[in-house]
Symmetry: C2
Subunit: 293 residues, 2 copies
């Protein structure tokens, strides 16, 4: 069976290793990146380097986008020389960025006018997951399109879930981020409570992490907070982008989310202190400041 | 080596199976319970049934208490015919209830006047953990006393942690409950957000539970909320007792805990609806009510 022709737009810290996995799995690959040097790296490995997203769309059965924020996705798909200008009927565009579910529905509508469709398939697992091909991929859109693209998802990720109609991937990713950020708030409050009351933080974490209090955030970021390691696994500024998407979606379809709103406000105080590029575990500093630590 | 003589006061849903493990491990056991029938059950298995906590204290090297709330602990240890009236110098009292750290310090002071000491050693793992001897035990107090009592802890629990001076067990348990309740709030918000936006809740849970969003609460209580199963693993009313202890301790030693305070307020609305005896996962109903579901 002939391999699908794949296109990839956006070769940043996530996109470049993801595109590399696709190339090494033997899919013919066309790439585009605003800063051409990153595309040329993949060019030397055998990818075709295109001059525009439109050209990528024209050469691909499946075109993947992985860019920073909602306006960037809109631009590379629906902007001048965007994918929409090049796509061939029957092809699939897969947006793996984390952006507004509403934009995905809108872009899907535009693609359907050209006989194509959109999958929204954001990921979790960060740059480590991208490099190790262990991403969780949460996909929404046409089920048939999902099944066609699945072999490509499988070279980039570990847990791949079909979540429902277009937008469902983003909505699931936003659920993921509610859980991540509010669990981290739990960790931050427990650690500041421990510290104010003279407990050794690492002993506390060890004592509680075998049971109902356990979470990925506690096991992975709790010890970093205890050891004052605020290097970013995932940056505060990026979490704020996701919390903004959550709260916008929860405004459009009114859903009071008091804890998500609280954590967004506390992250704002971390940003005000100039720590937006630290890891999300810097949330603990906001709690410590409240406690006069 | 002769086995330590053990006493056990409080044979409720937790205490009775815990005392049973001690008895079956071969420790000579004296028991007391306000409702004598429960003590008689253990009497038929070979325990001595005493007429008062004081009598238990007089017959034991290590006397364990496992009762409901702060005033009950105060009563069985320092009240009329309490353990303090019977204890022999050199013995250890171990309170395994979840109560105020401050009370434990006070009782330790009184016991020291009699040449004894207190370990505070609350547990997590619920009645299932008590029956299966898989409790997490978080202990505070004199390190030498902890080492002596460790063989008894080992027949009741799996993860046993020495947390520091007296009160540290309770403080660690309170950290545990901050994590448990705020993680559950995260699960409740993610599920109400999913439901309002048309996602299948079980698919969402499956999609996110392999990564940074994972928690015990998500994996264990998330599916119960999705399936509308509000049977108690741990009751709302008991969680409120623990949140009260957390917020009292955070008032005495001022520590702003906005998320713990928020979850306590939301549980209050669950109680107002008459659902205090449902499982803590009924927290989701408070979020659903806010969203008009």
């Amino acid at each position: 069976m002939e391999k699908m022709k794949v296109g990839f737009v956006g070769l940043g810290i996530m996109g470049k290793p993801m595109a590399g996995h696709i190339l090494r799995a033997g899919f013919p690959l066309t790439v585009y990146n605003r800063t051409r040097a990153k595309a040329d790296d993949l060019g030397r490995e055998g990818a075709v380097v295109a001059d525009s997203p439109a050209e990528v769309g024209a050469k691909s059965d499946v075109t993947i986008t992985m860019v920073s924020d909602t306006p960037d996705v809109d631009q590379v798909i629906a902007g001048p020389a965007g994918i929409l200008e090049g796509v061939r009927p029957g092809s699939v565009v897969v947006d793996m960025s984390t952006v507004s579910p509403e934009l995905e529905r809108r872009l899907d509508g535009k693609l359907r006018e050209k006989g194509c469709s959109l999958l929204d398939a954001p990921v979790s697992g960060g740059d480590v997951g991208a490099r190790n091909a262990t991403l969780a991929i949460m996909a929404g859109g046409d089920r048939g399109a999902f099944d066609r693209v699945l072999p490509i998802f499988q070279v980039m990720g570990k847990t791949i879930t079909y979540c429902g109609p277009v937008g469902s991937g983003q909505l699931t990713k936003l659920c993921n981020q509610i859980l991540v950020s509010v669990n981290l708030l739990a960790v931050s409050e427990a650690l500041v409570f421990a510290r104010k009351n003279g407990l050794d933080p690492l002993t506390m974490i060890q004592a509680v992490s075998g049971g109902a209090a356990a979470s990925w955030q506690l096991l992975n970021l709790g010890p970093k907070i205890a050891k004052r390691d605020f290097q970013p696994g995932f940056m505060v500024d990026l979490m704020q982008k996701d919390l903004r998407l959550i709260l916008e979606t929860a405004t459009a379809n009114p859903t009071p989310l008091p804890a998500a709103a609280l954590v967004q406000q506390l992250f704002k105080s971390v940003q005000i202190k100039g720590l937006g590029r630290e890891g999300t575990q810097a949330l603990a500093k906001a709690l410590e400041a409240l406690s006069g630590i």
